[in-house]
């Protein structure tokens, strides 16, 4: 069984959208609804990549990114509706490989995933 991609978003609709895209691209998916769950699943399932929403309950995407970067070298793509230049800057400072603005297209998502896994 190949290592999955971890996705985390508090919105089920977005989570479903990500799952559909990723499945279509041929990846395994493990989904979390908040930051703590994302961290727990990251430890348990050892994903190859994490795609995290920034605004999440319990632990936000930036904090999860920081901890993931501390503990290992899982690449992180942040996905957010916070689109100001300062928001992007904060995300990249936290250690994300890429910062994808919502709304996103399937093509953009695929491009970022392939770049992160290359």
């Amino acid at each position: 069984m190949t290592a999955p991609i971890l996705i985390a978003d508090d919105e089920d609709d977005i989570l479903g959208l990500l799952r559909l895209h990723l499945t279509r691209f041929g990846y395994e998916v493990v989904a979390a609804h908040d930051g703590e769950e994302a961290l727990r699943l990251a430890l348990e399932r050892r994903p190859v990549l994490a795609i995290l929403d920034v605004s999440m309950p319990k632990l936000d995407g930036l904090e999860v990114t920081r901890r993931l970067r501390q503990d290992g070298n899982v690449p992180v793509i942040l996905l957010s509706a916070l689109v100001q230049p300062s928001d992007v800057e904060r995300g990249l400072e936290a250690g994300a490989r890429a910062y994808l603005r919502k709304p996103f297209t399937g093509a953009e998502l695929r491009e970022q995933i392939e770049a992160a896994l290359a």
């Binding site: 895209h21 279509r24 919502k102 709304p103 996103f104 297209t105 399937g106």
Partner: protein, 576 residues
Amino acid sequence: VIGRRPNPRAVDVYLAVGVLAIGLYFVLPADSVPQTVAYTVIGTYGIVAVLVGARRNLRGIERRVWYLFAAGLIAFVVGDTIFDAYAVGTGDVPFPSVADWIYLSAYPLLFAAITIMVARFGRRRIRIALIDAGIVTCGFVLAQWVWVLAPTAHIHEDLLDRSILIAYPAMDILIVAPLAGLIFARSARTASYVLLALAIVTLLVADEVYYGHGVNYRWLDAFWLASYVFWGAAALHPSVARLAAAPEEAAPRLDLVRLTLLGAAVAVAPVLLAVQTARGRDAHPYAVAGFGVAISALVLTRVASLVRAFDALHAAERRARLDAEASHVALIEQNERLRELDRLKDEFVGLVSHDLRTPLTSISGYVELLESDETGPLNEEQRSFLAIVSRNADRLLTLVNDLLFVARLQSGNLDLDIAEVDLAELAEHTVAAAAPRADAKGIALMLECGNGAIVLGEGGRLSQLLENLVSNAIKFTPEGGEVSVRVGANGEAVVLEVVDSGIGIPEEERQRLFERFFRASTAVARQIPGTGLGLHIAHAIVGAHGGRISVTSEVGAGTTFRVELPPATVKAEVRA
């Protein structure tokens, strides 16, 4: 009669004739009948002038004041004429006679007139003037008593005779008091004011010399006659109308006339004491002491009121300073609140943007999946419906982006990521992306590119600029029209022109076109959707790149937007 334009030249003619007449008076044989008649004629001349002037220049109570003057002067002239009639007829003037009564009655009339005039300046305004007038009057009365009244008091045995004799110099006191008030109540001096003061002063000087020396020098007649003439001139001069107006200044200035008069009044007591003692005459110690005390008291009152006024001024100044400080603090607080509001607004816009984007992500995302046949093949109708959903989601997203951008513009943090950008290349991309929209409306979309259209700037922002201008051009051009995009360089600037054959913009609205949320009436009338943000953003982007944007348009024929940007070869001043 009022309303006829007063002629200031008339006063000059009147004065010239008066002076000539006085000269003629002295040519005539002394104490002759012709000279006596001349005296009466000149006096009458002045009185007539007073009456004419009052009728022509004044009305109401002001006019009646001058009628009072005329009455006083008439009493003088009648009295004098009777004296002269006695002198010419019998060679002997009886004392006392009816002439004394008539003559003396003039003073109360003049006193009343001047007093009414001064009182009309307003009580509050003449307070200081009254104190000053009191000081001068006290000085005058003291001098008058010691040097004029006391020496004449013993001339006649009979009480009535003595009283009448004393009454003459005493009457001058009656005039001095309101005259001083008149002089002190006004600092702004009109011609009429000066003439009136001159008339009263000449009268007093002649009187004083006469009573003081007890001799009727011939030259004294010149003063009395001049007094009549001046009085008439004062009434004739058009500025007499302004004489009654309240003085402009709240506190009169301490000018030279005032200082001289006050100084003289204060000096009367010590000078008198010294002179009388030196001459070995009665120094009237009780009078000197009494008036000295009165003058000192008035001076003290005056000083006290000055100090009080100064203190009040000082307090007002301190209050004003405190007020200014308080409003300064209020201003700082208000600024703080405005900054806080600005911050809240930014936060709000950010929040709205975030919360709109999240559902838009689902809408666009799932539509995209449907369109990619993820859930099975779609028929044409389903596909066209989904295209509508997708297009509207895009429109909503553009609006959200524009709002966010404008909010950033307002907080002034539009940071550019500067690089060399080929505007021609950007234009190609923009035109290619807009081609489907143009095709859908049957609009011919053309692109003309020249060489060297390289600028320093942020590609993303310049794309946004191009996109705004091109989509506007397509939006406002009717079906079958034309839109062309031209990019080139003219040596001084890189020029971008977007030309359409659209509905046009009325001239009076072109100035406001780049304002936030402004929409042209032609766009509103045709119900063409929009937010009025596109051109505002375009203007801001051009401004941030150190360029300028201009518009030419003809309603019904089309519009051209022209953007000039500094070329990359020039060290462009790009606002960061």
